[in-house]
């Protein structure tokens, strides 16, 4: 796990880039709200590695989201939001197996961060806030994360075990 270019970190970075890419490409094909695809990757990584590493992972993932064309309206805003996501999810780290109820709570709290953040930013800029669309996206993100995060955690465990073996 040491070293900047450990295989685990490279795989996480790859997962973030693919998720961010698929999100914008799907956005061009699917009208209507889509779940946040980057958030599950950040939550899974942060749940395994704690708040400060989680925040670093979230910051990096947010920068990928910010720079992936067409980019965020404000450069760096997604980086700050996802850093907060990593911080919240990392605070939920527990030793041993992650219980489903605990996972649901962490996912719920972590995905609330970007949703609330966007609403507050919209209100601050006196733009109209589409609460129903935000809520639908939040529900979709929570649903997707509940499926994907356990899979990612299992994959990371398997990778670490094989690496140590």
């Amino acid at each position: 796990m040491t070293g900047v270019l450990s295989p685990l970190r490279l795989l996480r970075a790859l997962a973030v880039v693919v998720a961010a890419l698929v999100a914008v490409v799907l956005g061009a094909r699917v009208p209507g709200p889509l779940p946040d695809l980057v958030l599950p990757v950040v939550v899974a990584g942060a749940l395994l590695s704690g708040p400060s590493r989680g925040a670093l992972l979230g910051l990096g993932a947010g920068w990928v989201v910010d720079l992936m064309p067409p980019g965020s309206p404000v450069l760096g805003s997604a980086a700050l939001l996802y850093a907060a996501v990593g911080l919240v999810a990392g605070a939920g780290r527990r030793e041993g197996e992650v219980a489903v109820g605990w996972l649901a709570l962490v996912v719920f709290a972590a995905s609330a961060v970007p949703a609330l953040g966007r609403v507050l930013l919209g209100l601050a800029g006196s733009e109209p806030v589409n609460l129903s669309a935000t809520a639908v996206q939040w529900v979709l993100t929570v649903g997707l994360s509940l499926v994907v995060v356990p899979l990612l955690i299992r994959a990371e465990h398997a990778l670490v075990r094989r690496h140590l073996a």
Partner: protein, 292 residues
């Protein structure tokens, strides 16, 4: 355990640096454009590959096929046929008559704002002659303007985004107005002395705010077209933007305000065109005055 404080220090330093970038971008420092361009150079080609296949009809428009209005083979697959149909509609639309334009497809759509998407990426860039501040149209009318270009992709700010303001002409009289993305219930009613129930109501999603800048009347159904900028940048003149859908009750305002339904559905964009020159207007011959 010795590593923990240094990691926190790194995190705090990176967060501070990000915060600096946010503040720099909000205050309009141009160095952040270079950061965006870097992202577009590295990640743009990925999007072009991962985005839609297709593009055959648009590539063909470069050659003789465009001049024969795409005499296109019927044996091509449905996607290319649909692409060719949209391109033909774009070339036949009044906004493109006589204009030189670069056909493009939308390959990526950014995060949704309150009124739908605000930024999209198209698959043409500076290598195709596209530069910043060009008008982007489709068959229905104004889509937005180019705000950033990479070598292979460009980013477009869409109509309906809060950051996009368009100078427009309204109705047959051509009254001048300014069109922006809808502001919320907290719109700038204070400065014009409007209070209480006669304040601006929040718009339905996707509608635009029209504020006339000269005295004149506006009626439901009036056509709204771009006024045009010097040199056609960022907006060429005469591109349809939408129609007035409701007029706000006036009270103490210098000029009326209204809601405009945009003619382009920004949630379903596919083939668009980047205008390099303005549409050609009908030439007029000079006449001689007659004295009696």
């Amino acid at each position: 355990m010795r590593r923990r404080p240094s990691r926190r220090r790194l995190l705090v330093a990176l967060l501070a640096a990000t915060l600096v970038v946010v503040v720099a971008d909000v205050s309009g420092w141009s160095a952040t454009d270079r950061v965006r361009a870097l992202g577009a150079t590295v990640l743009g080609p990925l999007e072009r590959v991962a985005g839609r296949g297709g593009g055959a009809a648009l590539a063909a428009s470069d050659s003789r096929a465009a001049r024969t209005r795409l005499g296109y083979d019927a044996a091509v697959d449905a996607r290319t046929t649909e692409e060719a149909r949209q391109l033909r509609a774009l070339l036949d639309s009044p906004g493109a008559t006589g204009a030189r334009l670069v056909p493009a497809r939308v390959v990526a759509v950014g995060s949704q704002g309150a009124a739908g998407p605000e930024r999209v990426t198209i698959d043409v860039g500076s290598r195709d002659g596209v530069t910043a501040d060009r008008t982007v149209v489709n068959a229905d009318g104004l889509v937005g303007r180019v705000v950033a270009t990479g070598p292979w992709t460009s980013d477009v700010l869409l109509v309906g985004s809060a950051d996009l303001a368009v100078g427009v002409r309204v109705g047959s009289a051509g009254t001048l107005g300014s069109l922006t993305g809808a502001t919320g219930a907290t719109g700038d009613t204070g400065a014009t002395g409007m209070t209480g129930a006669s304040g601006v109501r929040p718009r339905p999603a996707g509608q635009l705010d029209l504020q006339l800048v000269q005295r004149g009347s506006v009626a439901v159904g009036d056509a709204v077209t771009t006024m045009g900028s010097t040199g056609g940048r960022p907006f060429v003149a005469g591109v349809p933007v939408g129609r007035v859908s409701s007029v706000d009750p006036g009270g103490g305002r210098f000029a009326p305000t209204a809601a405009v339904q945009p003619s382009v559905d920004v949630t379903r964009l596919d083939v668009v065109g980047v205008l390099l020159t303005a549409p050609r207007t009908t030439p007029r011959t000079a006449v001689e005055g007659t004295a009696r």
